[in-house]
Each structure stands twice: as C-alpha cells, then as structure tokens.
Symmetry: C2
Subunit: 438 residues, 2 copies
C-alpha cells in the first residue's frame, strides 16, 4: 500500500521534472540535499538530466557527490562540458579530484581543456560545439550537411568558415545562407569582416562588447586565429549578473563566491578574516577617541554625539562608494575624468555636509542648550562629509590604479577613514571650543 | 592656416567615429558636453550615427539637446526606437517634453508606444523589427521574401508564424528553414511549442529565463497571444548588469539611477533625503547612549570602546545583507528556506561573535587592566553580532515579504539596528557590572 503511494508520488515528480525542468530545479534546490538525492536516485537518469541544467553549480555538485556511479555518469554525460567545468569550479580541492576521476574519459579531457583558461575568461564559457566548413564548399552541400546535422544541438545562428589550418576566415549567418544561390561557394558569400575575441578576454569586457554590438554569439580564437569555440550572448547573462553582484559582497569582506546557502564553514572562512581586519581598524578609531578622554570626562554629551558624526560620514561615504564601484563595473569611468569625479564628490560633500550639519547643529543646540556645541558638531559634520565623499571615490579608484581589486573590502577601509576623520574633527573642535562648551 | 589644421583634425575625428564607434563613444563621453557637441556639430550626421548607439543614454540626451534641429533629426532617425525610449527615460520632466516634440512623427509614436510599458519590463526593450509569415506560406516563398528583405536589419535567428489575427502560432529558426523541403508550408515545419513572455514581464525574470534556456531571442505577446515584438538576449546583458548594480546603490540611499557623472543636482536630490533619514536614525542611536551618560561620566573608557562594538556589528550585518540581497537578485532564495537562512546567519553570528568578542575582550582587559571590562565588551560583541546577522537577513526578507523593494535603504535600517542593539548591550552590561568596573 505504502509502496504504491510512493511509486505514484515518484511518477508525479518524474513528470514534473520533465515538463518544467526549471521549476523542478528550484524545488530541488529548496530541499535538503540528502532528501533531494534520495528522490532523484529513485528516478531514471533521463528524468533529471534536463533539470540538472537549471541547477546552481553548487547544488548540482552536492547532488552528484551523493549519486552512485551509474547515475552520476548518466547525468554528467547529458551535461555540456561547460556545465561540468562550472560544477567543478564550485568544489573544494578534494571534491575536485574525486569529481574529475569519476568523469567519463572524454568529458574529463574536455573539462580540463576548459579549466586551462583563466576564471572569468571567454575560454571558460565558450561552447565547443559549432559548425565550420572550408571556403570551397558549395552552398548546396553546406545546406545538405546542415540537414544531416539537424538533430545535433548546435548554436543555430552562425556557420563559420575556416581554412586548412583551422584559421577562421569568414562567418555566414543562416539568413545569408538562405538567400544565397545554391551554386555559390561559402567563400564567396561569407562575411570577411570578422569580430573575434581571444579565449583570455575578460568576461565583463566581452559582455560589454556583445551587448553593444548586439551579436548573438561571438567566435573565440587563439593567437593564430584558429577557431576554438563560440560564446553565446545568452550564456553571458548569468555570468554578468553574478559578477556584478559579487562586487557588493566583497566591499564589506564577504566572499565574492559566497552564496546565501553556502556551507557555514565556507562562509566563516571568507568572512572572519575581514571581521578581524575590521576589528583592528575599529581600534584605530577607538584610539582617536581615547586621545580625547579628558574632554569626554568633562563633557559626556560628546560621547552621545559621536555616533551621529560617525554614522553620517559613513553613510555619505558609502553612497559615493557604491556609485563609483558601479561606474567601474559598467566601465563608465575613464581615467581622464577622475579629477572631475573627485571634484564632483567633494562638492556634493560640501552641500550635503552644510545641509545636514546645520540641522544637526540646531538639534544639538536645542538639546544641550549651548549654541557652541551646535557650531562644533555642525562644522565637524561638514568636514566629515567632505572627506567621506572624497574617500568614497578615491579609495576604489586608487585601489584600481595600483592593480588591486577595487571591490575588495573597500567598504571596510572607507568606514575606518570616515570614523577616524569624523572623531578627530568633532573631538578636536570640541577641545578648541572648550572654553565656550563647559 | 588655422582653419586647415582644424579641418584636418575634424577629418581624423570623422574617420575615428566611423572605424571604431565604440572607442569613439568612450572618448566623447569623457569630454565636456559643450566641446563634444561642437565637434559633432561640425561633422556630417552620418559620421556620428553609429557612435551614438554606444553612448550612455544620459550622455546621448545631453548632446542631442545641444544639436540644431537638422542634426538632431538625422541622428534620431538613425537610432532604434528602443534607444530613443532609453534616452527619453533618462531626461527630466521638462527635457522629456522638448525631446518628444522634436522627434519625427513616426518615431514619436513608436517611442510613446514603448514608453507605455512599465520601466524594467520586457515591453520597454523589445525590438519591433521582426519577420512574421502566415502558416500557409510555402518555404520557397518565405525564402524569397527573406531574400528581398536581406538589406533590412532584423533579428537573424528566428522567423515567426502568426495567424490572421496576428496571434503567434509557431516559430521557425533559420536552420529549420534551410533543412526543410522547398515545397513544405511554414505551418508544417514550424515549432509549435512556443515560449513567449508578456510585455509586462520583469526584466530580471526575463534574464533568468533567457539565460537558463539559452535562447537567442524571445517573442513578446499581448494577453491575446498577438506578437508585439522580440527581445534579444544580447540586449538584456546591459540591462541586467545595470539592475544588479542599481541595488547596491539603493542599499545606502543613493539613487538606483544615479551614475558617476550624473548632474550634481540630480545626485543631491537622490541622496539628501536619505542622509536626513540616516541622521534621524543616528539620533535614535545617540539617545540610547544618552540614557547611559551617568556611567560614561564615571568611566570614559566606555566611550572609547563604543565605536568598536558598533563598527563590528555594522560590518558583520552588512556582510549578511550583501549576501542576502544578492541571493534575492539572483532568485536563489525561495520562501521555503527562509528559516534555514535565518538559522544559518544566527549561527555564523554566534561563531564570529565568540571569536572576535573574545579577542576584543582580551584587548580591552590588557588596555584597561580590568578583566571585567573584557567580559562586558566581549559579551556585548557576541550579542551585537548575532543580532547583526539576524537583522542583515531579516530586514531585506521582510521588506520583500510586505511588497517593498528590499534594496531601498536596507543598509540604513540595518546600521541603525546594529548601533542601537550594540550600544544598549554594551552600556547596559556596563551598568550591570559597574560594581566590578569602577
């Protein structure tokens, strides 16, 4: 009885994964990996192959690890080598070795070839399934060949023309082929102005070029112009989104590759070192405060307003930082305009500093009943916000200029700068004005 | 003499814009708009049209505003209606009116049609240039028609099949057309399993579907299944990158649509309101401190350690926030797993709180010579970091649950929470332990 009910449930799951593999993948991702593996293990491999294409690399790896060899091999054979490379890249050192060993020979070679390209490069995400002919092939023959390949999956938009040395010499889009006379050769109808990219080209740059040029796909070549593969623009979308959002995480010292459901130990390994760095920088700010313990003892209201100055400077600085980081990601900031940018942020700092500084000064005056406290905190806030704006722009730009990743922990550096400057300006001014404050 | 040199320079610029319009656009973007307009104004429109496609919408608008009507019209006629809509969307209320009035009649209508779709929807970025036939058209005739359209730009990958009411009934990719027998009709060779999207579909969701399904383009239909346009995946890349990075900016109250070189007044209008909100929340944190002025007056070292507790909690919280925000953008967080996520972040908060709390406690003990100060600050840091982790996850998730934008100023809310909790825990514990501290 129970068995029958179980069988029925399995057949429902089977049908679900086959009819809507994307939603199926979402459902699987939301389950405990052990439960998910048990369900998929009870189904034939054919039921899950489509669904596997939609899984996050990390989840796919987690499931594959749990499968017996037969199911493992069947699923892996159904995936594209690029997907295997993605899964591989999401594994730990140890996991990689086991994973690679379990791969079928041919896939192993393909995956290793892809992995020889740098992370984030065109080589890593190119498909090696493309259609290429020699230039002396006739249009009629090419069409016949395409017809016989009809059942193989291959990018459907372009056919490539290569010479005897496999060097790319032309490209034909399918529409050109349709409108050509059957007696032409490919060499006469192909387009010879080629746009190609190197397998080492950075994906962000590739994304920019592809999106501006509105190509469906772009051929990847080696330095001798030999055709290695094809990157489809649809494949770039996911990578671009991933990279753009990685940068936010890195700004405050979470790992760029950390996900909402990464293993906890992985998250700790990524975040903890930066939390210690942040702690060290917090003590730097604390030591500024400790220089002024004397006046704080006499005037505890200063301790009350400290978080206001620091918080406001920090927030203003992060606003600038996020805008400059985005400008860098989108390649909108050219070196010629860096001084413009700094001037712009300084000006915004002055205006916002004045406007919020005056407001804060008035509140402090009313709260404490002494106009000079208002003057001190108002002035401190203006200084703090100008420096915040300048630092928010200068920190990522200088990190980039010296070859560092501008995202990596720039948020931590920034808040240290705004804290130190804010505390120093506020408490220093308080010392200067102390005759009027006490 | 001078004139001749000027002419020569202009011809160099002309050649540059024609041969490498993308780099040309970058060069123009880096110039003062008035200088750039002067140079482009001296060239024939044909020299700049290609280059205009590569300009940021905002820069393009700025230049177009400065052009005389003749040049304006010539450039605008060369742009796609989607690009005009993009430019239009980047303008202020007033600029929009003038811009629309100057557009040629036909483009005006097209742009208005596109603008009737919500921002961030498929309708806004679809191209209305597509090829559609009726199902009874023969393959031979279709190929002939395609041949005659050869010089018109149109997405080259798919041909669509619509019935008498313009309802989409099938899709044919160019390869299918090539391998079909010339005597077939389109109705017999078309694929009938259609993947279509509504013109109101959100672009982020569209990007996810397109990238998972690896389509080059997707047809956009109205509720009656009538074909309205086509979205190409290459066009989505830019939008996806833009949207993913918009969210970071909104987290701390900069405008999602602010760019590194937006007009200063625009930036002020976006940032200033949130800086005032941040100020108000900072006073909330300050009022917590003011509740404890008594003990701070007796023990000024507490004021020194305040920024350490607050800074550490704030940073830990932002780490969690960035990871959860990214999970939301990438649609990796399903509602079923929200409790998992909160549990996970609480656990990470406990571990990181313990590890950095013990370190801080020891430093405080050594610094101040009193082990109880170490106990107080260590405990406060653990509490503060657990709450930080929980808030970093709970704030964007609950904003999303009640229908708010989880990005909008979640960073400001978060740092308020971590400040208030951190100050209260630290100073409250100090009061409890005051017998041992003084």
């Amino acid at each position: 009885m129970e068995n029958e009910a179980h069988e029925r449930l399995l057949s429902v799951a089977h049908r679900f994964f086959e009819t809507d593999p994307m939603e199926g993948a979402h459902t699987i991702e939301a389950m405990e990996p052990s439960e998910a593996a048990a369900i998929l293990g009870a189904l034939p491999a054919s039921a899950s192959i489509e669904m596997f294409r939609y899984l996050q690399a990390h989840d796919a790896a987690d499931l594959l690890k749990r499968f017996p060899t037969g199911l493992f091999t069947a699923i892996v054979e159904g995936l594209e080598p690029e997907q295997c490379a993605d899964i591989f890249a999401s594994l730990s050192e140890n996991g990689r070795k086991t994973f690679l060993e379990r791969l079928p020979q041919r896939t192993q070679r393909e995956v290793q070839k892809l992995l020889s390209y740098p992370e984030d490069s065109a080589g890593r995400i190119m498909s090696r399934e493309f259609i290429a002919f020699h230039p002396n092939v006739g249009v009629k023959d090419a069409i016949q060949r395409l017809r016989s390949l009809a059942n193989r999956k291959a990018p459907a938009s372009y056919t490539y023309v290569v010479d005897e040395q496999q060097r790319l010499v032309g490209v034909i889009n399918m529409r050109d082929l349709i409108i050509a006379s059957p007696d032409d050769t490919l060499g006469t109808i192909m387009r010879k102005e080629l746009y190609t990219v190197s397998s080492f080209m950075d994906r962000e740059q590739l994304a920019e070029e592809l999106s501006k040029r509105q190509f469906f796909a772009v051929p990847v070549v080696d330095p001798e112009q030999r055709l290695l593969g094809v990157v489809q623009s649809s494949r770039l979308i996911e990578h671009v989104q991933e990279e753009a959002t990685e940068d936010i995480q890195k700004m405050f010292g979470a790992g760029g590759d950390e996900k909402a459901f990464s293993p906890i130990l992985f998250s700790l390994r990524k975040r903890l070192p930066w939390l210690y760095v942040n702690l060290a920088t917090a003590f730097l700010a604390a030591s500024v405060v400790s220089m002024f313990e004397g006046i704080i003892a006499k005037l505890t209201i200063l301790a009350v307003f400290l978080p206001v100055v620091a918080g406001q400077g920090g927030n203003a600085g992060i606003q600038t930082l996020t805008i400059v980081m985005r400008g860098l990601v989108m390649r909108e900031i050219r070196t010629e305009r860096v001084w413009n940018l700094l001037g712009r942020e300084a000006l915004i700092g002055i205006v916002t500093g004045l406007m919020t500084g005056v407001a804060t000064g008035i509140i402090a005056w009313v709260w404490y009943g002494n106009p000079y406290l208002g003057v001190v905190i108002g002035l401190a806030m203006i200084v703090s916000m100008v420096i915040a704006g300048l630092s928010g722009a200068a920190i990522p730009l200088s990190m980039k200029a010296v070859g560092l990743d501008p995202a990596q922990s720039s948020g931590i550096i920034l808040t240290t700068a705004t804290d130190v400057v804010g505390f120093f300006a506020f408490l220093g001014l308080a010392v200067l004005f102390q005759a009027y404050l006490l």
